[in-house]
């Protein structure tokens, strides 16, 4: 059995053990994790309240949903006629923990209610890319073998190199388990990452920016033309929690809701603008898109902007203010008509 498979199994065992203990000792009321999907290349988030159900929890390379989404609004339950905040344990790979930390910075969730069950993620498979390459064949089984992701059907078997067919954002990830910090040591159980490299060259973004404006415009048009405005990307993102999204505003109506290319491009551009300094590059938006649109180049771009200009990476510290919540006299202003 391949190393990746063994790693996954170990992680799964440890995760179930930790979850079982937390429920037994009543440290949490609810555990949010992943369970086996009912269609190939998918996994289903699951809410577990009893010890007996802990065996539903799984870990594999298809756990693409960012579970931090379910923490907002605060999960409440009716206890003796009063609505009480539940204590939640949440299975967190690195990016999920980062989004939880960022939500704490934005005061959306309370530290006392959360227990982060840390696990080390070795990358999520790009399910849409594989689906498109398999084409019109029913997938029956998928598994890992050596460094390959094997996809098996009734009359076919295809091999996909794991490193090549990972999500684009997972390829650049350096924070694979929840980042360790003193202020969070009480809420992280399970694996956490001591050190990580934040040296990021963003070569893919730089390469894209070498194109001319017209080439970039055409590339974006082709990338986003399939968008049906279903908003799966927005709903899957834990950091898109506005009660009324800008596209739904109508006094005044800012931008159209149609599927014309101008409206689609504006939706994605403004959504990226609102996620500057907040996106944790979990890749959930691209994994859940029903049309298989890969938004990773846009996410990489906004993270490059805040890294270059303000030296900020989201979701690592409870103390450092995100760039859009602060300002400095010395901010770079090379884009001005005339720098003074």
């Amino acid at each position: 059995m391949s190393k990746l498979n063994l790693d996954n199994q170990k992680i799964q065992e440890k995760m179930r053990e930790v979850a079982r203990n937390l429920l037994k000792e009543k440290k949490v009321d609810l555990i949010i994790g992943y369970s086996e999907g009912t269609v190939p290349l998918s996994s289903a988030p699951v809410f577990i309240r009893k010890e007996e159900e802990v065996d539903k929890l799984i870990w594999n390379n298809l756990c693409y949903v960012n579970l931090a989404k379910y923490l907002i609004p605060n999960i409440k339950e009716n206890v003796d006629g009063k609505l009480v905040d539940l204590k939640v344990g949440i299975i967190s790979k690195g990016c999920v923990a980062r989004s939880i930390i960022h939500l704490m910075v934005e005061h959306q969730i309370k530290k006392e209610n959360i227990t982060i069950i840390g696990i080390k993620c070795n990358g999520i498979i790009n399910r849409r890319k594989i689906e498109k390459e398999v084409g019109a064949e029913e997938i029956i089984e998928t598994y890992l073998l050596d460094d390959n992701f094997i996809v098996k059907g009734k009359d076919f078997e295809k091999k996909f190199n794991y490193d090549e067919y990972m999500n684009e954002l997972c390829k650049h990830c350096t924070i694979k388990s929840p980042p360790k910090s003193d202020s969070l040591k009480d809420i992280i159980v399970g694996e956490s990452q001591e050190s990580y490299s934040l040296e990021e060259k963003f070569e893919d973004v730089i390469e894209f920016e070498e194109k001319t404006p017209d080439e970039r415009w055409n590339y974006m048009k082709e990338l986003l033309q399939d968008c049906t405005r279903c908003y799966a990307c927005r709903e899957a993102c834990p950091l898109c929690y506005c009660n009324l999204c800008f596209v739904d505003q109508n006094l005044p109506t800012w931008f159209g809701k149609t599927s014309e290319i101008s409206d689609i491009l504006i939706f994605h551009m403004v959504r990226a603008l609102h996620l500057a300094g907040r996106c944790v590059e979990c890749g959930a938006c691209s994994s859940v898109c029903p049309m298989g649109i890969d938004l990773s180049i846009i996410n990489r771009k906004i993270n490059r902007i805040v890294k270059d200009r303000y030296d900020f990476t989201s979701g690592l510290s409870l103390e450092k203010l995100p760039p859009m919540m602060a300002f400095k006299m010395e901010d770079k202003q090379e884009f001005m008509l005339e720098e003074d």
Binding site: T38, A44, E138, N243, D248
Partner: protein
């Protein structure tokens, strides 16, 4: 015999002839996804496919449709309706489940006093040339809803993939007209019909999902306030993928867009979803479906309870798109099974 044959290598010829007289829509691969689009180059057609992600309802009920445009010249307002195509439409390669969805869509848009002329006119001028499903997917369940992978009654012309050729069966008068016009088609022979019959039986046996739907609307009606809906809708993120990709979902929003600087504007309608938080928001600010539980429950009840109650038809065709494409794998089959189980438990307790 009325059945004809066409070799797969002659399909380009068939398509070319039909594109001259009709607006021809067929499955085309765009960015890796199958979509029903107007055929420009015959070579673009992809007939080795399961089904498109966006259902063919899009051709008659597009994502965005202009109702009218207006121009203001001083005191005069000129209103223009969009041009109607003179040619009729042919949708080639449509699957039996999607063809049945057209029956449900016609029912919705044509029911009662207010008939949707936009849709109904287009539907009147649309001819369905469908293909049977030799290989249904694991998520298909048309047979549980009075459908069949080889159901041809809802189509005008029905094709069966016999490996190297297609068996063509005209069903309606219009279908017969079209096939007669293609005079170069050869007659089918008895072995071809038998092969098609065998493929039909095989396809039926390959459908692995069965849902017990016959009493669903009674069950769902009685379980409206059951707390199990909280459990069912827990993981739903409220996106709208299921309604946009559902062949029978029909809700739309009407929007006015204005170009003030050029004194013109237009009224359009776009797809809407009951999963949107704005869908049932009253102007007073009250929202009867304020949370995920109510909205998730509404969709299931609409298809399996309200639709049968209002129209006597079940509002689902068993295409399986919502199961395949739900971002959080909230499986409709599991939900229906859960509801049926509650009913059985209740029945048992009543008997006991």
């Amino acid at each position: 015999m009325i059945e004809k044959l066409v070799d797969k290598k002659d399909i380009p010829k068939l398509v070319k002839e039909l594109t001259e007289k009709y607006n021809f829509y067929a499955p085309i691969k765009v960015n890796g996804n199958i979509e029903f689009k107007r055929v420009e180059n015959v070579g673009d057609i992809e007939l080795n496919f399961f089904n498109s992600k966006i259902p063919p309802k899009e051709i008659l009920f597009p994502r965005m449709e202009t109702l009218f445009t207006y121009n203001i010249n001083g005191k005069n307002i000129e209103i223009k309706e969009p041009e109607k195509s003179e040619k009729k439409n042919i949708i080639f390669g449509i699957r039996p489940c999607d063809a049945h969805s057209f029956v449900l869509l016609e029912n919705f848009f044509g029911f009662g006093e207010f008939k949707d002329k936009l849709f109904l006119n287009k539907r009147k001028n649309t001819i369905l040339m469908g293909i049977g499903c030799n290989n249904p997917r694991n998520t298909c369940f048309c047979t549980s809803l009075e459908g069949h992978p080889f159901k041809k009654e809802d189509m005008d012309v029905f094709l069966v993939d016999l490996d190297d050729k297609y068996l063509i069966t005209p069903i309606t008068d219009i279908g017969k007209e079209i096939i007669d016009a293609l005079s170069w088609l050869v007659d089918a022979k008895k072995p071809d019909l038998e092969k098609a019959m065998k493929l039909s039986e095989k396809a039926e046996s390959l459908i692995s999902t069965t849902l017990d739907i016959k009493d669903s609307y009674k069950i769902l009606d009685s379980q409206f306030s059951n707390p199990i809906w909280k459990e069912i809708s827990e993981t739903c993120i409220g996106c709208g993928t299921c309604s946009f990709l559902c062949p029978t979902c029909t809700c739309f929003d009407v929007i006015d867009e204005e170009d003030k600087y050029n004194n013109k504007g237009r009224r359009i309608r776009i797809w809407d979803t009951c999963q949107s938080c704005l869908y049932s928001l009253h102007t007073s600010g009250h929202n009867p479906r304020n949370g995920g539980i109510e909205r998730c429950r509404n969709r299931i009840l609409h298809k399996f309870s309200y639709y049968p109650t209002n129209y006597g038809l079940i509002g689902c065709v068993g295409c399986g798109r919502c199961i395949q494409l739900c971002p959080v794998n909230n499986d409709l089959r599991a939900i229906i099974k859960k509801m049926n189980e509650i009913n059985k438990k209740e029945e048992k307790s009543i008997i006991a």
